[in-house]
Amino acid sequence: MPSTRTRPIERFAKATAKCSAEAAAYGKCVVADYNAVHKDMCAKEFMRLKDCFLAASKKV
């Protein structure tokens, strides 16, 4: 039975795709020193990514 409903994960993916610039910034921050990652090392970048994601997911 093909369902027309979009799965939550698909909506999640769509919203994330709209924030590629913020995602790249966060990714670079983590990968820059990936042998010594600790909690909230890139909190600032992540909050930017999250804000962008939240704004984008409202539109989807």
Binding site: A13, Y34, K39, C42
Partner: protein, 372 residues
């Protein structure tokens, strides 16, 4: 409450005392009594090998069942399993023999049966196609734990090209077959979920007829290393610790030792990487789920991944593993193919070390290291 009453649950055999102070004991049936000295107080272990439990079998069963409920998605995500089953069956071409009884151990949706019945390309024959491998097999027994997945394709045309018996077993780790019952055991992408691999391999060796092959493919070592590393980093950065998301897998180096220990001879082991491109990590994880291959580690964190970790993982995966100019993210599946033979009379034996008469360099050519 009297003292004997308090003690009763602790001391298993209560010695009835013929006193009036304990009326309950009067009408109790006389039980054979054992003195307290014979009670075991030392630590003891159940006989046999200690049972290694890494994966939750019940969870794995549920995941396979659920994945197969959605027939369309499940068929769509069979690409890895079909491809590996095809490559596995190609190895049967090298064995010039008929197989009356074959077992497919952990059949998933009978991908091996489908691969066996597919005609093979052959330029020599007039039709351009050779007989499918199934013509050399009289009977195939497919076993798996999930009935929904096993019976998913029961009405497909390939079922008519080969006599197949589907059998649902409660547990893949104990095989319900007698000694010397199969002419070959095949297994494709299933035994990476087995807890006690040494025991299973020994059982496979047991149910094989003498001089019969065991041919298997399993996920190994570096499978999904991209997902493993990026999830670790995302977990670390967001939550300050890691929890296992990708299964521990056997390494190529271990497989030889495992087969040897189980009593297999003339081993052939080779490795192959299949890299699949996905648009994003979400579709990778959704596909893994639809394959019934999601996380089933016993000590995993319950519940789905947090949204923050998912979001962080997507960003880190892209940054760490995506190649310049690629359309999607790569996911590596490392396949270990193994062939082992049960010991039998008249089997080819390796020659003794140092007994070679010819220098391979004379035949194959090639220079020494110094000449370059």
């Amino acid at each position: 409450m009297s003292l004997p009453r308090l003690l009763r649950p602790l001391v298993r055999s209560h010695i009835p005392t013929p006193t009036a102070s304990s009326p309950t004991t009067a009408h109790l049936p006389s039980v054979p009594t054992r003195s307290c000295i014979a009670r075991r107080t030392y630590a003891m272990q159940t006989p046999g090998n200690p049972v290694m439990e890494i994966f939750n079998r019940r969870v794995k069963h549920l995941q396979k069942d659920r994945a197969a409920q959605n027939v369309e998605e499940s068929r769509k995500t069979d690409y890895i399993k079909d491809e590996v089953a095809r490559r596995l069956c190609e190895r049967l071409l090298d064995i010039k023999r008929d197989f009356p009884q074959v077992l497919d151990l952990g059949a998933n949706s009978c991908n091996i049966a489908r691969a066996l019945t597919t005609p093979l390309p052959d330029e020599g024959s007039p039709t351009g196609q050779a007989e499918p491998l199934a013509s050399r097999i009289s009977h195939l027994t497919c076993i798996d734990t999930s009935s929904a997945l096993l019976n998913r394709d029961i009405d497909q045309p390939f079922n008519r090209a080969l006599p197949i018996t589907r059998q649902v077993v409660p547990d893949l780790e104990t095989l319900p077959y007698a000694e010397n019952s199969f002419d070959a055991v095949l297994s494709s992408l299933s035994i990476h979920w087995i807890n006690d691999l040494p025991s299973l391999l020994a059982q496979v060796n047991h149910i094989l007829k003498p001089d019969a092959p065991f041919i298997a493919a399993m996920f190994g070592g570096d499978t999904l290393f991209e997902l493993r590393t990026s999830l670790q980093l995302a977990d670390l950065e967001r939550r300050g610790g890691v929890s296992p998301h990708v299964s521990p897998l056997a390494d190529v180096r271990d497989v030889g030792g495992l087969l040897n220990k189980a009593g297999f001879k003339m081993l052939t082991i080779d490795v192959e990487d299949i890299v699949v491109e996905f648009p994003d990590t979400f579709s990778l994880m959704a596909d893994l789920q639809a394959m019934g291959e999601s996380n089933a580690i016993l000590h995993r964190e319950m519940g789905p991944l947090g949204r923050e970790v998912l979001l962080a993982n997507e960003a880190i995966y892209r940054e760490l593993h995506m190649e310049e100019g690629a359309r999607g993210i790569p996911a590596t599946f490392r396949l270990i193919y193994m062939i082992g033979w049960k010991e039998g009379a008249g089997q080819a034996q390796p020659l003794e070390r140092g007994s070679g008469q010819l220098n391979l360099k004379d035949i194959l050519g090639g220079g020494s290291f110094e000449q370059k």
